[in-house]
């Protein structure tokens, strides 16, 4: 099986879908002549031409609007937001329009659109270029939210997202683009809404997604050496959520840790924990712990940035807390603690 980079897997997914369906086109800032800010769309212009690989001005609201409007009349846009941070300028078109047109029209319209965007920290890009906004989009009925953690899933999930008849927010991660993995050349898809059990274990379930899958797997490896068997679930889709798979796992392990790169307040983890206490309350032997980024804007300085996001040590610490081993809670500082600093 060929080994390729995450960004190449995404590229292949788009190529295959564009070859399959003439209604699929790619649009965004620097996607064509520049070959993609992160080279995800590299070579698409050469294969498909400027009609189907469309460079735009820096106008995120109308870029999303072109996507939604063209989807209203049957095209299947793949919109690249250079980073998820810029999608904030397009929220009106995504949330007020794309997510609602089907419902408001009584089912007359569908919006088969994908918005692809990298998010996350790790490249010292500072507060305006390092955010994780999955929970913003997860909050909105009508949207689906997908997050691929590896090249295999990246290709399979993106193909499913492009074939889906709903607006899909497809989250990528800047730190994952050059990671490598096996990617079949055949026309496989990974279904939306189905989590992946990356590692089986009896003691603690870790629920995670996107870039955090890497440090979680490393932590699981280290914990295994100490005799703690962790089950790792990569959600792959955040809305819809594969609540069945995570509930089943927790019924087995009786303990759970959620690992996310976004902020804790109203983050994806908060939703997962709320759902789990509804579906598996009686099975828990310990509180669910959450490892997230610190509740601060992302700093620039390398050591501060590292300190703000989850890592292997923090994950191991949280797992140990759930099983009553020595740990160093609190895992993070709350907003209330942070505010005391200004008193």
């Amino acid at each position: 099986m060929p080994i390729m980079m995450y960004r190449q897997a995404l590229n292949l997914a788009m190529r295959e879908e564009m070859r399959r369906d003439p209604n699929v086109y790619v649009i965004g800032e620097e996607v064509a002549e520049y070959q993609g800010a992160y080279r995800v769309t590299e070579g698409l212009l050469q294969e498909f031409g400027e009609k189907r690989v469309v460079d735009t001005p820096i106008s995120e609201e109308v870029i999303a609007g072109i996507g939604v409007g063209s989807a209203m009349v049957g095209l299947r846009p793949v919109v690249e937001m250079m980073t998820i941070n810029f999608a904030i300028l397009a929220l009106d078109q995504i949330v007020n329009h794309g997510a609602k047109l089907r419902y408001m029209s009584g089912g007359q319209l569908s919006i088969p659109m994908v918005i692809r965007a990298p998010q996350g920290a790790g490249m010292q890009l500072g507060a305006q270029h390092s955010q994780n906004l999955e929970s913003w989009f997860m909050h909105v009925p009508g949207l689906k939210v997908v997050a691929a953690s590896n090249p295999y899933d990246a290709k399979g999930l993106l193909k499913s997202a492009i074939r889906d008849n709903n607006p899909v927010i497809f989250l990528e991660h800047e730190m994952l683009y050059t990671t490598k993995g096996e990617v079949p050349e055949d026309d496989y898809t990974v279904p939306l809404g189905v989590a992946d059990v990356k590692r089986e274990g009896r003691d603690v379930t870790i629920i995670t997604y996107l870039r955090m899958v890497g440090p979680v797997m490393a932590a699981a490896e280290a914990l295994a050496a100490e005799g703690i068997e962790v089950e790792v679930i990569d959600l792959r889709s955040l809305r819809p959520l594969d609540i069945e798979t995570i509930t089943d796992s927790v019924k087995k392990t009786h303990r759970a840790v959620v690992v996310e790169e976004d902020w804790p307040t109203c983050g994806a983890g908060a939703e997962i924990m709320a759902r789990l206490q509804e579906t598996a309350f009686d099975y828990f032997d310990a509180p669910i712990y959450r490892v997230s980024s610190e509740d601060v804007p992302m700093p620039y300085s390398k050591n501060l940035e590292r300190s703000a996001i989850p890592d292997e040590a923090k994950i191991i610490n949280a797992v140990k807390c759930t099983i009553g081993r020595e740990c160093k809670l609190p895992i993070r500082r709350s907003t209330e603690d942070i505010m005391k600093l200004t008193d």
């Binding site: 609007g65 409007g69 063209s70 329009h97 319209l109 088969p112 008849n165």
Partner: protein, 317 residues
Amino acid sequence: MNKAELIGMYRQMVLIRKFEDQAGESYKLGKIGGFLHLYVGQEAVGVGFISALRPDDYVIGAYREHGQAIARGVSPRRVMAELYGKKTGVSSGKGGSMHMFDVERHFMGGHGIVGGGMPLAAGMGFAINYRDGDQVVVCFFGDGAVNEGAFHESLNIASLWGLPVIYVCENNLYGMGTAINRASAVPEVFRRAQCYDIDVESVDGMDLLAVRETADRAIRIARKEHRPRFVEATTYRFRGHSMADPGQYRTKEEIADYEKRDPIVKMRAYLIENGFFTDADVEAIDKEVDAEVADAVKFADESPEPSREDLFADVYA
């Protein structure tokens, strides 16, 4: 235009006027909820443009769009039923006053966010060019939209890419209760579009035939040359912004002055003066339209409400 077309356009304006007056009455009776933005006074703009379109062209409006939906041929029954929140409504009772959709007639909504339809219109224009089609999109919005980012982003990209969209600003001089000269550094709306190198035209939106002539020209050029047009139609709404409008920001004299320029009265005078019809025809049309509106109300009243299951339908495709 032949006699039948002229009378047809006149009749549509009368239908919209009477429909909207009735909607206002039904609102006062508590039959209609939410916001209700009436098109009374602005009928000539919607009718003038939409009558000039082909069935495969697209229309997209803002939140004062009942009249545009009717002009596009959506049955008044289904528009009224939508206002009444009934399952038989044009958007199955899910949209309401601000969200009328009839995709079969290429009426692509009612949109409640000021300026929000403008990027969507660009997207539909993009799709037309993508498929090498020769349709056009007519996008209605108010003068309140011209200070939104969506206005500027949309006009720039429409001009840059040659999108076949006719952007029609219905300048009724007030964005809700704020007069345009209190909101726009450049109150002549067409000048805002000129800086994107788009051909602009300003037209008296109270004059149906003038609007229609402008519409024919704009549509012909957009269709043939694949480029956008911008039309500022100066008009006036005789009623408040919505039913909740206290009306403190306009003088009675100003409203009375504009009422003297009522587009329906003007068109009626034209038709009579030119011998297209008589006072008796006017009465006959009034009677027919009254019956049509009464029928729409009866239909809406008697239609079933959506069910609890409908609540969950059509969130996802």
